[in-house]
Structure formats: C-alpha cells, structure tokens
C-alpha cells in the first residue's frame, strides 16, 4: 500500500519544529507501524535525508518506549494498542497519516518524535514503591491476598509508563499513570504501611509537573493497557483521606 506521512521534524531541544511530508510506497499491510517507519527511514537515509528519530525497543507493547500521536490519537486508532503493536492493515491505501510527538510542558521534545518523559520517574521516586530492603522479606505465603484484590492490583500494575495518558489529556494531566501506581500499591496489604505518605508524596510531585484532571476520560481511551479511570477516583479518595488521617492511629481501623 502507498501512504503519505506528515511527520513532525525537530532538530533538538528548544529548536523550532515543523511538519515534513514523505511518501511511503509499497508498504506491506502485515508490517507494524514502526516497521513502516523503518522502511521510510532506510529510504530517507539512502536519499541523503536524516532518518526520523522515534523511540522504540521491545516492539511488543510492553516496554513503553514507543509513543507518538498518529492521526490525532496517541498510539494511533486501535484501542488498547501501543504504536509498535499497530499494524498497517488498519490503514487503507492512499491514507494521509499525521505523526506528532507527545505534547506537554513536562515532556519537552528532544528530537523529532522523541520526548523527555523523566517526570514520570520523579513521580515513582516520590513514593511509588514498597520499602523493603533486600533480605528483610517474610515468607511469601504469610500474606494471603484475596484473588480479586490481586487481580485489581494487577489491572493497575500493567501500566507501561508510555505517557500516552498525558499526551491524550487536554490538561496534560498524569492522573492515570499516577493513580495506576498508587492503586497497585495501596490496594495490596503490603502497601498499607506507606499508603498515606505514598499518595500524598506522589500526588504532590505529579502536580508540580502536570495539569489537573477534569475527568475527560481521554487517557483511558488512549491507554495501550486500557487502564480504567476508576483508579483516578481511588487516588482522589486516598488523597483526601491521607490529609485527614491521624497517622499514629491508622493501624486501629
């Protein structure tokens, strides 16, 4: 199939960027979207033009490296699918495809489609963990966890940290990413001791980089793991409780 790409090209951080148009001829419908870009890049190189920089690694939808706006949708049109798992058979011959980087003040463009998503790591560092030093863990089966709880925690834990939720959100809010991690840890018995500090620290850090949530729901629709915005409600509740809780007495309830 033959396609036209309109791609955002930007030399580097702070440089002005602009759209360039490229032809992508004889693309196999079985190719993945990134393989299509590989082909285009190879041809660009041979024509003496610098290839398009885009992030990718696993190409299995799990590492969270890839990510770009494809025709106005983060990771492209297919629901619950990362760009690397999107296949060209989802497009039709002759299509025009617009490709843009994630856009958010907290995600400055480093080059072409590559952005800096490190603020997401700052959020994890703020409290997205359970503090157990190596070796201090008790026997695993000492803590039974209801299957439903474990499953729900897992539903949240599958986040791949791609940042599509931020890219999708008209407010550039990182609510879905943050709430997914908070829910994963706060739902589990192991996560209780740090529960209230965690939610406060992570939310406060999140808010120092990102916008606020007005419940658009775009993030859920864009999330390659279809993580539910219900977790955002869970986070809001925990944050409110965290402010009111008398931390010295929590073990009582």
């Amino acid at each position: 199939m033959d396609l036209t790409l309109r791609v955002w090209r930007q030399k580097g951080l702070g440089h002005p960027g602009e759209f360039e148009e490229y032809r992508a001829r004889e693309i196999s419908p079985d190719a993945s979207f990134l393989e299509m870009l590989d082909v285009v890049n190879d041809r660009l190189t041979l024509e003496g033009q610098e290839p398009i920089a885009f992030e990718h690694d696993c190409r299995e939808g799990i590492c969270g490296s890839c990510g770009m706006m494809i025709n106005g949708r983060p990771h492209g049109p297919e629901k619950g699918t990362a760009a690397c798992q999107l296949h060209m058979r989802k497009f039709t011959d002759g299509d025009l495809i617009v490709i843009e980087p994630w856009r958010a003040s907290a995600f400055p463009v480093l080059k072409d489609l590559v952005v800096d998503r490190s603020p997401l790591d700052r959020i994890i560092e703020a409290g997205g963990y359970i503090g157990v030093d190596t070796g201090s863990a008790p026997e695993a089966n000492l803590i039974p966890i209801p299957k439903d709880v474990a499953e729900t925690a897992m539903d949240a834990a599958v986040c791949i940290g791609c940042g599509a939720c931020v890219a999708a959100c008209p407010n550039s809010a990182a609510q879905l990413f943050t709430s997914a991690k908070i829910a994963h840890l706060n739902l589990l018995p192991q996560g209780q001791p740090e529960r209230w500090r965690r939610v406060e620290a992570m939310v406060d850090t999140m808010e120092s980089f990102f916008g606020s949530c007005t419940n658009y729901g775009e993030c859920e629709a864009a999330c390659p793991k279809s993580i539910s915005i219900d977790f955002i409600a869970v986070m809001n509740r925990d944050y409110f409780k965290a402010k009111l809780r008398n931390r010295r007495y929590v073990s009582q309830v």
Binding site: S28, E50, H56, D57, C63, Q85, Y129, A140, K147, A157
Partner: protein, 640 residues
C-alpha cells in the same frame, strides 16, 4: 595459553558451599560502605536489583542505562514466569530437584556449585518480590498460584498473567527508585557505556556517551558491574528488544575479560513465524502456551487445506509421538529441533510454509473458552494483532526463533570476570544455564545475582581496597579510553558510504542464522567464518550514517552495536566449530543419533570454552575450564 581459569568454587559439600563461603568472605562494615563507589551498567532485573541492594547497604552507586528510564530494560518483556522450589503444590519439588532439573536442562554444561546456589536463593526471590508488591497470580484462597513449564515435571513457576518480567522488573525498578530518591544511587539514563577502563589490572571505570548531547565522559569507581543482557540480536531477527546488544561485554572482552561459550544460544520454539522481508523482530508466544496447546503438522505435508479441514487421522502431533513422557512440554532445544525437522521435511504450515500449528481446540473443549481466556487472554490478543488470525478459532502458527544467550562473559563463583573488579551478572555472564536454559529460570538467575549473590561477593572484593580512593577519572588510562571511543565514533560517522546500518545487520543475521543457528555443520561454520570478516570490511567501508555526533543519532547508536556484533558473530562460529559435539542449544549435524537427537561427548567436551581476545586481526584463543560433576551423574537427556 596465557590465562589460568580459577572458578574459586568453595570447598565442602554442595549443600554447604554457599553458606560457608558467605561466612568466610570478609565484610565491609556499614560506616565504611559509603567510601566505596560502584558502577552498575544496566538496569534490567540483574542491574536494577543489584544497584538497589548495594544502595540499601550504603555503597555509593552509579547506575547507567541507554534507556530513557530504568523500567524499559528488556527484562520487561519476559512473559511466562519465574521458578522457585517452594514446593507449594507439594508435588515432590525441592531445592535439589530444581538444581537437578537446571543442570540436566542445561545438558550438563554448567557448574554444579553455581546452579545449586541459584536453586537455593530462588525461594528468597519470591519472598522479596511478593513483599515489594509484585502481583503474582493467586488462588482463591489468597495464596500463590503456580504453573508448569517445559523440561520439568513439577509446577514451580510463579507468574503475573503474561507479564511476569514486567512486574518483577517494576518491583526492582521501584526499589531502585527508592534509592535514587535516598541519594545512594545516582542514575544516568540515556547514557550508553562504550568502554571499560582498566588501571593496574583492575577495572577502574567506564567511558560513556550521553545519547542526547553526544558528549563522551568517563566515570571511575572501585568496581564495575556489567548487567547488560544478552546478544541474541546477533541474528538480527530475534525475540529480543531492538536495542539489546553485546557492546558492553564485548568492550570488556576486548579489554581482557574472557568470553565463555559464545555459541550456546537458545532458539525458542514458540514464536510467530516471519511474515515478510521487512520484519524487524520476532515475537515470542510464551512457552506456557505449551501447557494447553498441542503442536502438530499435517502428516502428509502441507496442502492448501485450512487446519480445521484436516481430520485427526491426518495430523502428526510430533512432540507427543516422539516424547510420550513430556509430550508438548519437552525442553526448548528439543522442541525447536523437532519443529525444524517437521518444517524441513516439507510439512511447514502457513503462507510461507515456515511454521507448525499450536492448537488449542482440545483445551477449549475441555476447559471452556473462559478458562483459556483467563490464562492466555493477552497472548491470544497479541497473536491476533500481529497475524490478523483469531487463535480461538484457527490454531496458532509458531516457529523457533533466537531468544536467549547462555554464553557470555566468563565469571567465577563470585561472578567476577577475569578482570579483577569487573563483575558480570544476569544474561550478560555465561551463567548457570549450561548449553540450554529452562523456561522461567533467567528471571530467577538475574534476580539471584542482583539481589542475593553479587552484593555479598562484591563486599569481599571491596573490603580489600579499604582506604584506597578510586582512581581519578582524569588518569591517563581514562583519557586514552575516551579518545579511543571518540575515534571509533568519528570513523563511523565519516564513512559516508551507500548502505544503511540495518542492511548490514540483516545480512549478518542471515549468515549467523544460516550457519550458527539451530543446526551447525563444520562446513557451514567455516563458510561463515570466511563471510563475516568480508561483510565487516564492507560495513567499515560502506556504511552510511547521517545526522550529527552531538545530538540524538539512532543510526550512530546502531552502527556501534552492529560493529561489535560482527566481531562477536565470528567468535560464535569459531566456538561452535571448536565444540565437536551436540549439546543443548548447540547442535552439530555431525554429532547426532539415528533419530536425529543430540549426541553429547562428555569424554572430551565436558568443559567451558572461554575465549581470549587477541586483537582484531588474530583469532581469539580458547582456555578451558573443565567441569567436574560430584553430585549428579551425567546421563543422556531423555524426555521420552
């Protein structure tokens, strides 16, 4: 032979070796730990767990990764699960059985002492991960669930849906993040290590390139730990992430670290067959699918018929036929070769006749669609996305693909390479898997190395350097290494040839897959050893890299990695040629039984072949580490 290899295996009975050794090793007292700087390259399971643990213990750690975040390491894509001998199912499992299965699975080409230690600490890993909040699958009673994996007859594999590696890595990453916050670990993202610096015979630091600014800098430390993963991408098409590479350990190899068993590579039986020329990678379908899926081909060869139209009588369930005892759950190397035989005999299915069926029809009848969906839902989705076929209705098509490399830097019992102060952990070392790795044991090894083994053995080394500062990073050796890297980069940039990096990588991959893949012959290997240097010369003369050195330049990154793959590929072939036997993943057509099974030669080849770099234009030289087996007796593996 220049080097003498001493594995430093502790004395005493197998069961006590690790315990005794831990007691005998000198320690570093808590207040002194912050005087030591340790560099950890790689933040996969091995690297992240090591860096986090060392940070917790109070060392000053610098961690490096070329990813934009530690969480993206290739470990993230591990699907199936992680082994441990908890024996929660009380189906006769034990530390000794895990040890035995691993040795046997590795076709008796690994060290007893290491493997036993691995089996010993495996249980602690499950405890640690659970405490970190890793959401392992659970029974309704709230306790941990298990599944079974290829090559064993017990259910000892712990898993989180089809994303076990992701959850374990996030656990380690979060532990690391905690230390980054605490300031014990300094994290360098988007920073690629391009050389090891050796001062007075000891590893003293590394040279790195900032992948955003292109700046080349040096870092010094008391010890350097390489946790940089495997080199399956030497085949170009593999199940590994695109960026996986050999550069870090290859640079170490060139600086004097011996490279062990390079030809021991694992070809994974259940991957989606290649669909076209431009394919950039092969996708793994977790081995766990073999629990419920049945593998078959049309007995009378592939005719256009759809799978559904082929009656039972005309199907050949070749694994069940050839290996009644293990059936579809034989180890990977065995399953892979069986599939290859089937396809080579013209029975391959699919448009390119390059696959075999993995059929869930029976399982769905037996357990119902819901049960299958719960177990493999995300894998089935992934398959449908990629192929456009619905595995609930038509059987999957699968074919073996390069997946894991048992070979790697040679390390002693303490995980130290032949360069003092330079350690290799995880897939980067030649590890505990011998000639073939059992499923769900790489995650186990990576975390065992990082959480529980290295932090102990490293302390012993550091304790000897108390009071000494790490060499200053402006020491001539650093400047020299840095300049070396700069020249290398410049040379690549200034070639301005007419072919892309990927083109060369593809061509190289074809050669290695053809001659050093699932079946290897002396003739083929010699051919490859001739072809590779030729292609390399072409690469050096004709590769085209655009863009600048001082910014993100992905072609440049790839080129550096491919350059090292050329040298490695040649060594893989030499090693394969040198090992005149068939064992595990290494199958020499000259050495097989009448039914085409691997023919091992314990008389002459029960050793580790460790290769020493001799310079670019002289072939590497081999040093042998003989393998003594005191506890297990060497048997021909039989899964019949």
């Amino acid at each position: 032979m220049t080097v003498q290899l001493d594995a430093k295996i502790p004395a005493g009975p197998l069961e006590d070796k690790w315990a005794n050794h831990r007691f005998e090793m000198p320690l570093v007292a808590p207040p002194n730990r912050r005087r030591f700087e340790v560099i950890v390259v790689g933040t996969g399971l091995a690297g992240a767990s090591a860096a986090a643990t060392l940070g917790e213990q109070g060392y000053r750690v610098k961690a490096f990764t070329y990813h934009d975040s530690p969480r993206r390491a290739h470990s993230i894509s591990a699907q199936g699960g992680i082994n441990a001998a908890k024996n929660y199912r009380s189906d006769g499992d034990s530390v000794y059985r895990l040890f035995y299965d691993t040795i046997k699975g590795g076709d008796y080409r690994s060290r007893e002492a290491n493997v036993y230690r691995l089996a010993e600490v495996a249980n602690e890993i499950i405890d640690q991960a659970t405490a970190q909040g890793v959401p392992f699958a659970r029974e309704y009673g709230g306790l941990l669930a298990n599944r079974s994996f290829g090559g064993v007859q017990v259910a000892r594999t712990f898993y989180s849906r089809g994303q076990t590696g992701q959850q374990l890595l996030l656990g380690a990453f979060q532990a690391l993040a905690r230390q980054i916050k605490a300031g014990t670990v300094e994290m360098f993202n988007r920073t690629e290590m391009l050389d090891v610096v050796v001062v007075d015979g000891r590893a003293a630091g590394i040279v790195v390139r900032d992948l955003v600014s292109g700046e080349i800098t040096t870092h010094s430390a008391h010890a350097v730990v390489l946790a940089t993963g495997g080199y399956s991408n030497a085949y170009f098409l593999s199940t590994n992430a695109k960026a996986c590479n050999v550069t870090a350990i290859w640079r170490a190899h060139r600086k004097g670290a011996l490279f062990a068993n390079p030809c021991f590579t694992q070809i994974h039986p259940t991957c989606i067959p290649q669909s076209d020329e431009f394919q950039s990678k092969l996708t793994l379908m977790s081995e766990s699918l073999r629990n419920d899926g049945r593998i078959w081909v049309p007995a009378s060869g592939a005719d256009g018929r759809a799978a559904g139209d082929i009656p039972e009588s005309e199907r050949d369930y070749f694994l069940e036929r050839q290996y009644p005892a293990f059936g579809n759950l034989v180890p990977r190397d065995v399953a892979s070769r069986a599939a290859k035989r089937a396809v080579d005999s013209g029975k391959g299915v699919g448009p390119l006749h390059n696959g075999v069926f993995l059929d869930f029809a029976n399982a769905i009848d037996r357990l119902g669609r819901a049960a299958i969906e719960e177990r493999y839902g995300n894998l089935f989705e992934m398959y449908e996305r990629i192929t456009g076929e619905d595995p609930y209705r038509t059987p999957m098509r699968i074919y073996p693909a390069p997946h894991y490399t048992m070979g790697g830097l040679w390390v002693d019992y303490d995980l130290m390479t032949t360069i003092p102060g330079l350690y290799a952990i995880g897939e980067a070392n030649f590890s505990d898997h011998g000639a073939n790795r059992l499923g769900a044991s790489a995650l186990m090894q990576g975390l065992a190395d990082g959480y529980f083994i290295l932090p102990n053995t490293l302390a012993a080394y550091l304790s000897g350097m108390l009071g000494q500062a790490a060499p200053p990073s402006d020491h001539p050796a650093f400047t020299e290494a840095a300049n070396g890297v700069r020249d290398h980069t410049r040379r690549l940039m200034s070639t301005k040839g007419s072919r892309t990096v990927d083109w060369f990588h593809r061509e190289l991959g074809k050669i290695v897959w053809e001659h050093c893949g699932m079946a290897r012959s002396a003739a083929g290997l010699e051919k490859a050893i001739g072809e590779i240097p030729a292609l390399r010369a072409e690469f050096e003369a004709d590769v085209r890299i655009l863009g600048e050195e001082e910014s993100i330049n992905q072609s440049l990154e790839k080129a550096g990695r491919v350059a090292d793959y050329f040298e490695l590929a040649e060594l893989m072939c030499r090693d394969a040629l040198y090992r005149e036997e068939s064992c595990g993943g290494h199958f020499r057509v000259e050495h097989q039984t009448l039914e085409g099974e691997a023919l091992r030669d314990d008389e002459n080849y029960a050793f580790v072949s460790a290769w020493e770099w001799q310079g670019r234009d002289r072939p590497a030289e081999v040093v042998r580490e003989p393998l003594e087996f005191e506890s297990v007796e060497l048997k021909t593996r039989s899964y019949k």
